[in-house]
């Protein structure tokens, strides 16, 4: 009896290890890297937090197509381009501050929806090969983008703001800088130091669970385990966090040293709520049905092709928003290359968080962003300390980025081949 139990537990642990191998490996790499990099805690926490806020929406943009069974959407590059076109347009009319960003977003909405729609139509032509199509489409779109902004802007497309143009009047300069009022305009609305922000978020979660419990008590319903354990957990986390801050000077100092942009955070929360809400609507359940099995979805009367196009449109729109947040945080963008790595980096981050080609959620996105960007910051520093060569660390992080995607794709393909073989075996 007991041996059976341990073997069951053994199988469970083994499964857990295999299913989260990439995430665990990354955990080890990150911890080893942090030790090797030997940087002050305030630096690491500050960098990670700013990168988290900068990149999270771009990663969240990948979720919906995964649910629709279309895999990782490499064509979010087009959404990023839409955002950049938006910024170019509003810079052309010399807008500045929040207005510049709002106009940029308004311009990028129709563009990204159009791009998303066209991409979706193309993907319906190439079912089963969406990822490679998306990737090549990204390269193709880069060609068109370059053609328009390198050669047509100036001679064919009139440009009002001359500071945008190169000196000979043909093509846009690179990089395009946002002015001081526009740079980090959304971030600057409300900055709070990290320790206060964490306390705030934890209190809000606590209040949320408490309010739900109160509501149920008033309605005289049974209190389910979820609420009470949620309440308990949030109290516990709060206590642990308080003790940590109290016991470690450096930790508290690092948190106080780091400012987090609350407005951007709220925007991210809104996107998360939208995605969660979406999966509970009719459209969301249709998307999941299409992702499960297209023939069954069609036989249930769901217009699969239309749903797939919608999924890509949502993804592209969110990517445009994400790239806009990214650029306002940095304050400038290289006109012709800023969009190139958006797809690869976001996808690698999501996969590191434990997502697969078939399954991805908000938790994967957040964990992935944390781990991936930790690796990204520390690997050149670790390379410098370990081999006296920062270049080595930079190549290493690029390698890891590609390798993670390759391994995830290969594992997924292998699993589906095995599943097919089992199915065929049963048929015989």
């Amino acid at each position: 009896m007991s041996s059976e139990k341990t073997s069951k537990a053994g199988v469970f642990v083994k499964k857990l290890l295999i299913n989260n191998a990439v995430t665990l490996l990354f955990f080890v790499i990150c911890i080893a890297g942090i030790i090797l990099a030997d940087q002050p805690m305030s630096y690491i926490i500050g960098e990670i937090s700013s990168r988290l806020f900068r990149n999270l929406i771009l990663i969240l943009a990948l979720l919906v197509p995964v649910w629709a069974g279309m895999g990782m959407n490499f064509s979010i590059v087009l959404g990023a381009m839409a955002a950049q076109i938006g910024i170019i347009v509003s810079t052309n009319f010399s807008l500045s501050g929040i207005a510049c960003l709002v106009v940029s977003f308004l311009v990028s909405i129709p563009l990204s929806l159009l791009f998303g729609n066209l991409t979706g139509r193309l993907f319906n032509q190439t079912k089963g090969q969406e990822m490679i199509t998306g990737m090549i489409l990204g390269f193709f779109a880069k060609g068109i983008y370059d053609l328009v902004f390198m050669f047509l802007c100036g001679p064919v497309i009139p440009v009002r703001n001359e500071s945008l143009l190169l000196t000979n009047g043909i093509g846009l300069t690179t990089p395009i800088n946002l002015d001081n009022a526009t740079k980090s305009a959304i971030n600057k609305i409300w900055m709070v130091s990290l320790d206060k922000a964490v306390y705030g978020v934890l209190f809000l979660i606590l209040l949320f669970f408490a309010a739900r419990m109160m509501g149920k008590m008033i309605k005289k319903q049974k209190i389910s385990g979820r609420e009470s354990s949620g309440l308990l957990a949030s109290v516990l986390v709060l206590a642990v966090f308080y003790l940590l801050c109290r016991s470690s000077e450096t930790f508290l100092f690092a948190l106080r040293f780091t400012d987090v942009p609350i407005a951007t955070g709220i925007l991210i929360v809104i996107v998360c709520i939208y995605i969660t809400f979406l999966s509970k609507t009719k459209l969301g359940s249709d998307i999941h049905a299409v992702g499960q099995s297209m023939p069954i979805a069609v036989s249930m009367g769901i217009p699969a092709d239309k749903i797939r196009i919608t999924a890509i449109m949502i993804s592209t729109l969110l990517a445009a928003l994400g790239q806009l947040i990214f650029i306002q945080d940095i304050g400038n963008f290289t006109t012709y290359t800023a969009h190139e790595n958006v797809g690869t980096f976001s996808i690698a981050a999501l996969l590191v968080g434990g997502a697969s080609i078939k399954k991805a959620n908000i938790g994967h996105a957040i964990l992935g962003a944390l781990l991936f960007h930790t690796m990204f910051i520390i690997s050149p520093l670790a390379g410098k300390n370990l081999f006296d060569n920062a270049q080595l660390g930079e190549y290493f992080r690029v390698f890891v980025c590609y390798a993670v995607i390759a391994v995830a794709l290969a594992l997924h393909a292998w699993k589906s081949v095995l599943a097919r073989r089992v199915e065929e075996g049963e048929e015989e």
Binding site: Q129, I132, M135, I136, L166, Y395, C401, A406, W414
Partner: protein, 348 residues
């Protein structure tokens, strides 16, 4: 007559007609803009020659049903490694080139075999997986170029670690094949040595396609289940095809480098699979059907388009790199078209 034309258009393919029209326009522009024709033609010939073997590397994969080999950088890295070894030991002239090719083959066989083990486990998603395998290999070899123990002063950085990013071949075998038996007719340089060598490789692959092994490979690609029931070992056919493709990639980059005049290391091979794939697709190949004729025609069309586009674009707009943009649009456009023709993952 109209029906005949229509059918011709259909079988030839719409994008191919566009590219042909574009090529015609470029040739017309070349005359209008008074660009020296013999010089451009010489460059066309060289470009076609040095790119042909890389395009030829697509043949075995498509024959055996693994599709377009997006993992071509794998073979290219093997070729570059062999090239570096040949430079390290100062192998010069034509002999140096062939020595580099010979050194590359064992590396390519090893890498191709290891990679084929993966390819056989991911049937149906070969293209996506192979793209990222190619990318990761390039990134891994970036680290390799930094730490491998090369010591020849002409190929490593004078200060710091690792090999140089670009290594000019003047000391070793710069354009040695191009200049072998070369002669000039009407001002056009004919690189006879290069043509002979690539002709030889085309002949070898052509003969291979007609050999017993080649026919079995074709059968395995066309209908795996039927082939298996006839006693063809489909997986080992795919393994051989992948190894062959990798070997051709390795040899291809050495021919490319000698004609180009330098080896480019680090991130240079990252995107090299795409022009090769685009070339065979322009020539009329599909992800499931290919012939030597497609490879030659496609490389001629694609590379002469690029070779003519460069001077034409430069005399129209001196700044910027218009021909690079044209290359990006055309090569990725044709790959997208081919993918959309595959109809739901099934190979038509």
């Amino acid at each position: 007559m109209m029906v005949l034309l229509k059918n011709l258009g259909k079988s030839f393919g719409f994008p191919r007609l566009i590219i042909l029209a574009f090529l015609g326009l470029l040739i017309l522009m070349m005359f209008v803009l008074h660009i020296p024709v013999p010089l451009t033609l010489s460059q066309c010939l060289v470009r076609i020659g040095i790119n042909l073997v890389l395009a030829l590397a697509m043949v075995p994969g498509i024959m055996a049903g693994t599709g377009m080999n997006f993992a071509l950088p794998l073979g290219i890295e093997c070729g570059l490694l062999a090239g570096m070894i040949s430079l390290q030991y100062n192998m010069k002239g034509i002999g140096g080139i062939f020595a580099a090719m010979a050194i590359s083959i064992p590396f390519s066989i090893l890498a191709g075999w290891a990679y084929s083990q993966l390819v056989n486990r991911v049937k149906g998603s070969e293209m996506m997986v192979s793209t990222y395998i190619g990318f990761s290999m390039v990134a891994l070899m970036c680290i390799g170029w930094l730490v491998l123990p090369f010591s020849n002063a002409s190929i490593v950085w004078p200060i710091g670690d690792g090999l140089r990013t670009t290594i000019t071949l003047e000391e070793w075998y710069d354009r040695a094949l191009n200049q072998l038996f070369a002669f000039r007719i009407f001002g056009v340089d004919i690189p006879v040595g290069l043509i002979l060598v690539i002709g030889g490789f085309c002949l070898i692959v052509w003969l291979f396609m007609r050999s017993h092994l080649g026919l079995m490979m074709k059968a395995a690609g066309a209908n795996p289940n039927f082939a298996r029931s006839n006693g063809v070992k489909v997986d080992s056919m795919r393994t051989i095809a992948t190894i062959l493709s990798t070997v051709l990639g390795g040899i291809g980059i050495i021919i490319y480098a000698q004609g180009f005049g330098f080896y480019q290391l680090y991130n240079a091979p990252l995107m090299m699979a795409f022009p090769a794939i685009a070339a065979v697709l322009i020539g009329g190949a599909t992800p499931s059907r290919i012939s030597i004729f497609h490879v030659i025609l496609g490389t001629i069309m694609f590379q002469s388009m690029l070779a003519i586009a460069t001077p034409v674009a430069n005399s129209l707009i001196p700044e910027g790199n218009l021909s690079e943009v044209v290359r990006t649009i055309v090569s990725n456009g044709i790959i997208l078209y081919a993918l959309s023709r595959m109809q739901g993952g099934k190979r038509s």
